[in-house]
């Protein structure tokens, strides 16, 4: 194109050709292209492609399960014995993706050794592998799904929600987890773990699925908003500094008593010994010489 032609504005260019023979066709083509692109952008993934990706993920999960989980939970997640008539791992049919995400995501599963309770540890699987395992377990029977991120995102929680969460926390959770979420003892070597440093998603999933000793707080019992409020309170509690000095573990009067005796009385008795040994005698001895 020459420089003269390019100096023409595009509007004039279009306007000059609006009655061109093929103008209608071109407009139609543009329209179809726009609608098609928009559809491709906004519509859910192509069902066929999705299916294949999901089945691939399930397949992947099944393989991982066979290697890492089946020795206790059975080859088809139906639960397994340990050969001595005791259950090694419960059936996982119907526990849902949320349970897998919690147990594997917090490192509890795969368990290192059977015991009263399986402790939290560094996760052994990557997030991708966890998702594959979760997809496999979820494919066996319906169960609670991994919650969407906005259901446990508490970064914008209001003071009112936090206060409400605190009240719900004290009503439902502190009896085992302690007033500051520091955990507590349960019978026979079991315990309610500390909630400090646990991610929002995992707290949400724990309420949803009730891992180990914990009761299930399903969405019918405890609304999603209630769960989010509790998480908001816990996060506020965790980031809050202790205004009174060292928190002494936020464990209540037992640690206070221990510190009172060790530091308080211990120090004061030392001072008493010092005062008892000091003063008059030293001065008197000097004067005597």
């Amino acid at each position: 194109m020459s420089e003269k032609r390019s100096s023409l504005s595009p509007a004039r260019f279009l306007s000059a050709r609006r009655r061109h023979r093929s103008a209608g066709l071109v407009v139609l083509l543009f329209g179809l292209l726009a609608v098609g692109s928009a559809y491709a952008a906004f519509a859910p993934d192509d069902a066929v492609a999705d299916n294949s990706a999901q089945s691939q993920q399930i397949e992947e999960g099944k393989k991982l399960f066979a290697v890492g989980c089946s020795s206790c939970h059975g080859l088809n997640a139906e639960g397994g014995g340990n050969g001595a008539g005791k259950m090694a791992g419960p059936s996982l049919i119907g526990v849902g993706a949320a349970a897998v995400d919690f147990q594997v995501g917090t490192g509890r599963m795969p368990a290192m050794q059977p015991g009263a309770q399986i402790p939290r540890k560094t996760p052994a699987y990557s997030q991708e592998e966890i998702e594959a395992l979760a997809a496999y377990i979820a494919s066996l029977a319906p169960g609670p799904a991994v919650p969407a991120q906005d259901s446990y995102d508490v970064s914008k929680a209001t003071d009112e929600q936090i206060t409400r969460g605190g009240e719900l926390f004290r009503t439902n959770c502190t009896a085992c987890h302690n007033f500051a979420g520091r955990g507590g003892a349960l019978p026979n070597g079991k315990y309610a773990p500390s909630l400090m440093g646990v991610s929002e998603k995992h707290i949400y999933e724990a309420m949803l699925t009730g891992p180990q000793q914990m009761p299930v707080f399903s969405d019918q019992v405890m609304q999603p908003q209630d769960k989010a409020d509790i998480i908001a309170y816990l996060k506020a509690l965790q980031t809050q500094k202790d205004p009174g000095g060292f928190g002494l573990g936020r464990l209540g009067p037992v640690s206070e008593g221990l510190w009172g005796w060790l530091v308080g009385i211990g120090l004061l008795v030392c001072v008493a010994v010092w005062i008892g040994a000091k003063g008059v005698k030293a001065k008197g001895a000097k004067a005597h010489e």
């Binding site: 206060t163 007033f179 507590g184 003892a185 070597g189 037992v254 005062i275």
Partner: protein
């Protein structure tokens, strides 16, 4: 000395009206013996003063009311919540009153130290036999203060009406209700109706700030008056007898020492209040009978009671529609009062067994009365095991053991532990007595091994100084109580013979195994023996200086 004329004007003006010069002259020169263990009671006294000062500050803002209010203070995690005025005002003191949290924490730490110091002081009294005649009543007064201090502390813990203290009161409420027949009535009387009701904070408040501190103050006065009246006990040593007091005058030595110690106690308590968070009521939340938290424990001094209830098996009986909760009745209403009574009455029990009616102003070394020391250690063990029981959940989680195993261990240990501790401590004391005996008769071991020309190895012993020998022998030879003949000269049976028999048996139990101090003859023989070539003769150079004042005890 009519020193009146020498006083400056204002002092003379006061002295003319109050006569302080005469009182001062006598009392400022009062002699007290010097030993660190005599200052333990002072810690308690100073903590009490700190409690009164900080407590007064807190009353300026604390509202002893159960009226329901909505919290609108600056602690955002509880904003908008409905709570009692007592709890809301505690939060206000904590977050909105300048210095409020610091004073609250100093107050609470001072309470922890007050009772701990009283208990340590009591142990010192016990193990040195300071409770013997004429001080039995002062022992009881001290015991009364300890008891009231514990009640005072527990009520204070209940005042903020937070979830933790409310749970503690709920347990107390259960214990009261467990007492047969009167339980329900007593409960309604104390709480003014069903628990928790609307009255307890205002009632507890007045008991906490007026009634009990007033009684404690009166008892402190009586306690100190008796210390002055009896004069202070002292450890045995050269020149120290049952009839004198060797030490320093109150002025200037003890006014300086005690005054300085007060500031040290205040300083340490203030440091603890500033650095160590105690009773974070804002974390507990307001009391609500429908809520409870793991790790619900009382302050340390109630811990043994909590433990007693925690480890007791859950027995219950039902008669004619009435429930008897043995699981509360025995561990809360029978065992602790029985134990406390036993300790309170110990001076009288021991006095009866030993038949000792003499006055004692020289203290025992714990080893010199092995059975008493053993009993004391058994008491401590019993108390400590119950105390551990009060924290059984935290022990389970922090040491990774089963809560049930901790509980079952304690159920046996609380019975067997004191017996074992008694035997070990008693034997230990007797061994120490034997070591003292050796020291007196053979001198101290120098650690120098000498080989004689024949090839025989011997350790050189050095005689101990006369001062030390005096200290070691300044105690009585105590022999078991004799039972006397069954019948008198006329063949009449002695009355209350069974009682005497029991007493004699107990007395044997007390003294039969104890090592008596060597007699003069034994010492002489031992010193003869000291001329053996095995022993070294030169005395250590005595560098000790005795410049203390001796005051007659009359």
């Amino acid at each position: 000395m009519s020193a009146n004329t020498e006083f400056p004007g204002p002092v003379k003006w006061i002295d003319d009206r109050l006569g302080i010069a005469k009182i001062g002259k006598k009392n400022l020169r009062k002699v007290f013996p010097d030993h660190w263990s005599f200052m333990l009671g002072e810690i308690a006294l100073y903590s009490f003063i700190i409690l009164i000062l900080t407590g007064t500050f807190l009353t300026f803002w604390f509202k002893p009311s159960m009226a329901e209010v909505q919290y609108n203070g600056s602690y955002s995690l509880l904003k908008g919540l409905h709570m009692s005025e007592a709890y809301a005002s505690t939060l206000d003191i904590t977050f909105d009153v300048r210095g409020g949290l610091l004073v609250r924490q100093i107050h609470h730490w001072a309470a922890v130290l007050f009772i701990a110091a009283m208990m340590v002081h009591l142990l010192r009294m016990f193990f040195t036999g300071a409770f013997r005649k004429p001080r039995e009543l002062n022992w009881l007064i001290g015991f009364g203060m300890l008891f009231l201090g514990i009640v005072e502390g527990f009520i204070g813990y209940g005042l903020p009406d937070d979830l933790l203290s409310g749970t503690g009161l709920r347990i107390t409420n259960g214990m009261i209700q467990a007492s047969p027949v009167v339980g329900t009535y007593m409960n309604f009387f104390i709480f003014g109706g069903e628990f928790p009701g609307d009255d307890f904070v205002s009632r507890f408040f007045i008991v906490h700030v007026l009634l009990i501190p007033g009684i404690i103050l009166a008892l402190v006065t009586a306690h100190l008056f008796l210390v002055v009246y009896h004069k202070h006990t002292q450890y045995a040593g050269p020149g120290r007898t049952q009839k004198n007091v060797v030490g320093y005058p109150l002025f200037p030595v003890y006014t300086a020492k005690a005054g300085g110690f007060f500031f040290v106690v205040f300083g340490i308590t203030a440091l603890m209040g500033a650095l160590m968070q105690i009773n974070p009521v804002w974390l507990y939340g307001p009391y609500n009978p429908a809520e409870v938290t793991a790790g619900s424990q009382p302050d340390w001094y109630m811990g043994w009671l909590e433990g007693s209830v925690r480890i007791f098996p859950g027995f219950e009986s039902h008669f004619w529609g009435v429930t008897l909760s043995w699981n509360l009745l025995i561990p809360a209403l029978i065992i602790p009062p029985a134990f406390v009574t036993l300790v309170a009455l110990y001076p009288f029990i021991e006095g009866w067994i030993t038949g000792d009616k003499r006055e004692h102003h020289l203290l025992d070394r714990p080893r010199d009365v092995p059975t008493r020391t053993g009993i004391g250690v058994a008491f401590i063990t019993f108390y400590a095991l119950l105390w551990i029981g009060g924290g059984n959940d935290l022990i389970a989680t922090h040491f990774g053991i089963s809560l049930n195993n901790v509980t079952w261990f304690l159920r046996f240990a609380v019975i067997l532990g004191p017996i074992l501790a008694f035997m070990v401590a008693r034997r230990w004391a007797i061994s120490l007595q034997r070591a003292d005996y050796e020291r007196l008769t053979h001198g101290l071991e120098t650690g120098v091994i000498v080989r004689s020309p024949e090839g025989k190895y011997t350790e050189k012993h050095q005689p101990i100084s006369t001062y030390e020998a005096y200290s070691l022998t300044a105690r009585d030879r105590v022999l078991p109580h004799e039972i006397g003949p069954e019948t008198d000269d006329n063949g009449v049976r002695a009355p209350r013979r069974a009682l005497h028999k029991a007493r004699a048996a107990l007395s044997r139990f007390y003294f039969a195994d104890a090592v008596q101090k060597p007699t003069a003859q034994e010492l002489e023989e031992a010193h003869e023996h000291a001329h053996d070539p095995d022993e070294i003769h030169e005395l250590t150079e005595d560098t000790e200086t005795y410049r203390e004042v001796t005051s007659d005890r009359s």
